[in-house]
Amino acid sequence: MADYEPWNEDRAQAVIANHAAIEGAALPVLHALQAVFGCVPLDAEPLVAAALNISRAEVHGIVTFYHDFRRKVPGRHVLRVCRAEACQSVGADAVGAHVRAALAVDWHETSADGAVTLEPVFCLGLCASGPAALLDGKPVGRLNVARVDRMLETLS
């Protein structure tokens, strides 16, 4: 479970400055912002643009191109469930449907109590151990409906 800092422009400037000097800094800068704030809010875009000497439109284009960058702070837990073929072959569609129903969310949404954000992922490299997921960065294999329920019970 990650503890994110509330948005703060000065803090963001410092985070950006830590990475802005390297060649091709955009992704490292955005990853660093997301690690601190849990997302890359719109307010961050002009700051990144100024630091990297590119237009705000370009920054917006980069942030929105990559699936990893969130625009909103996630829930207290992030559950990334694999939806790719190898996991499909052992029941990932049913697992995905069950998780969505259990949390009453669709992909990319956060449960009403703010506990869990559900994100789809296309392959975790656990393709002989599926259906697979990452819960707060921790790998989980051989998921089925019962295991999903047990896993979700532990989250608050």
Partner: protein
């Protein structure tokens, strides 16, 4: 104390390896290793005995007290005992060159790495000099293991001969294909082999900087590789002469395409570049760049160490050496199977893989990731070889083999291929960006029973346009799974027959 080896590969962690390690604390010296790649036996632990290592698996933390009481530390406990790992048929039948150390060594121990033949390839390369190093790689017949199968030596030669103020070695560790985990296993289980391969590449072409572009979906691999970089720097293996930086992707599948990867490394959207210019001439930051898959680079050290002839002697046709094949999906014995090219698909999934995990008959096998064709059992005589798969409108790609049992709906899989392309298209070329959206719509119409014949024809036509009109392999190869599903499983595209069958 007795040493016990417990894997730290995520495929072992996903089924409780950390709990097993915790249960062993105080009873043995625990060494965390990569995985041997026998995933159905994970967590598979190995006890060091005077007779060699004895494997146990799959082991749960709750098994440990009983195992300890029964003689785990001497390798005599019988519960879950697998015996000498190298004698397990799945391992005994392999030719492990690239994965020789994976699952055996502590991935962050340079001593282990040296003891198991590490850094000897680099010494050879230094003695040979750049030109002879490139010649060795060329003579080995090594081709790009990322999927395209381009001869590695030619890439290196082109980059070596190109003029540039700076040159780069870029490792493509954006292993996005479902059914593949070879790059991940090496990052987690033998990271120094990649470092050594990249240093050799740098020496061969005159580059002083390397980048490893790792996908963000591999947090454990990223962490292990960063630690390995620090250790290599402290030991003076990396330094001013050649250093490596790891960069992390951000969830875009298309960044596994080499020019999109370079764009992403430069800090832009991962949009594909038109070729020419080739990356070997104008790659990263406009400089001559060798960009190779992780497995390719990690294979270079053993080629230099053992000589090109030994590697070249393995394989079939123009596919030389070994391929780390990844058996995945609905398969009983899933894992990493490194073998010389030429083994048939049927042998792989039935004989070695043991058929489906569910016990139902195999209906289809997708080889080469989301862009690979679905093969029915009637094509199981196809040998694992770049040309043999291409001749049957398929591809071996990065070596992923995903098995589906007879519950699979191939029209759904065709729809998924198009849907995946919608989500992952970089948007640069129209056939991929728009074609995939139209593809999903057309499959939906077929599934709904609307003008089925006309829509099947339209889908075929659309695939033709995407195949020949797309800028890169994403739009260009997505037709493979779609057309193979239509050609070999036509009954799934006939809703009337589907209803009758249900």
């Amino acid at each position: 104390m007795t040493r016990i080896f417990v894997p730290r590969d995520v495929a072992a962690l996903a089924v409780g390896a950390d709990d097993v390690a915790a249960a062993l604390v105080g009873h043995a010296d625990i060494v965390r290793t990569g995985s041997r790649g026998l995933f159905w036996l994970e967590p598979m632990i190995e006890v060091e005995t005077p007779e060699g290592r004895i494997a146990y698996g799959p082991v749960e933390a709750s098994d440990i007290p009983r195992l300890l009481a029964d003689g785990l530390l001497t390798g005599t406990a019988q519960h879950r005992r697998l015996g000498i790992p190298e004698q397990i048929p799945f391992l005994a039948r392999q030719t492990r060159l690239t994965f020789a150390r994976c699952g055996i060594v502590d991935p962050l121990s340079l001593d282990d790495y040296r003891t198991h033949g590490g850094l000897e390839g680099l010494e050879k390369a230094r003695a040979l000099g750049p030109v002879a190093t490139v010649e060795t790689v060329l003579a080995s017949g090594l081709r790009g293991r990322g999927g395209a199968g381009f001869p590695t030596g030619i890439k290196w030669k082109t980059t070596a001969e190109a003029k540039g103020a700076r040159k780069f070695i870029v490792c493509n560790a954006d292993e996005g294909d479902s059914g593949t985990f070879a790059d991940r296993m090496l990052l987690e289980g033998d990271p120094f082999s990649l470092i050594e391969g990249m240093i050799i590449a740098g020496l061969a072409v005159g580059a002083t900087k390397g980048y490893v572009y790792t996908r963000s979906e591999y947090p454990h691999g990223i962490a292990t590789f960063d630690q390995a970089l620090t250790i290599a720097r402290q030991a003076g293996i990396l330094g001013p002469e050649f250093d490596i930086e790891q960069r992390v992707g951000a969830g875009a599948y298309v960044c596994g395409e080499e020019t999109a990867l370079l764009e992403s490394l430069e800090g832009r959207r991962g949009q594909v570049r038109a070729k020419p210019p080739l990356p070997a001439h104008k790659g990263l930051f406009g400089c001559p760049t060798v960009i190779n898959n992780l497995v390719t680079l990690a294979t270079v050290p053993c080629i230099l160490r053992d000589g090109a002839a030994k590697y070249q002697a393995i394989g079939m046709g123009r596919s030389r050496g070994t391929m780390p094949i990844q058996l995945a999906g609905n398969i009983r014995h899933g894992g990493l199977f490194e073998a010389g090219f030429g083994i048939t698909l049927g042998d792989l999934v039935n004989d070695i893989g043991g058929g489906t995990l569910s016990g139902e008959p195999i209906r289809a096998v997708q080889v080469g990731g989301p862009l690979g064709a679905y093969f029915p059992p009637s094509m199981f005589d196809t040998p694992f070889d770049y040309e043999a798969f291409a001749a049957k409108d398929g591809l071996i790609g990065h070596g992923g083999v995903v098995v589906f049992d007879d519950t699979v709906d191939m029209a759904r899989q065709a729809r998924f291929a198009m849907e995946f392309c919608v989500v992952e298209s970089c948007g640069k070329c129209t056939p991929c960006r728009i074609g995939s959206v139209r593809g999903v719509e057309t499959v939906d119409k077929i599934l709904a029973g609307q003008n089925v014949d006309a829509n099947l024809e339209l889908l075929r036509d659309l695939c033709h346009t995407m195949k020949f009109g797309s800028l890169c392999a994403l739009g260009g190869f997505i037709p493979y799974p779609v057309l193979s599903a239509m050609n070999y499983f036509p009954e799934d595209f006939r809703p009337a027959q589907r209803l009758a069958a249900e």
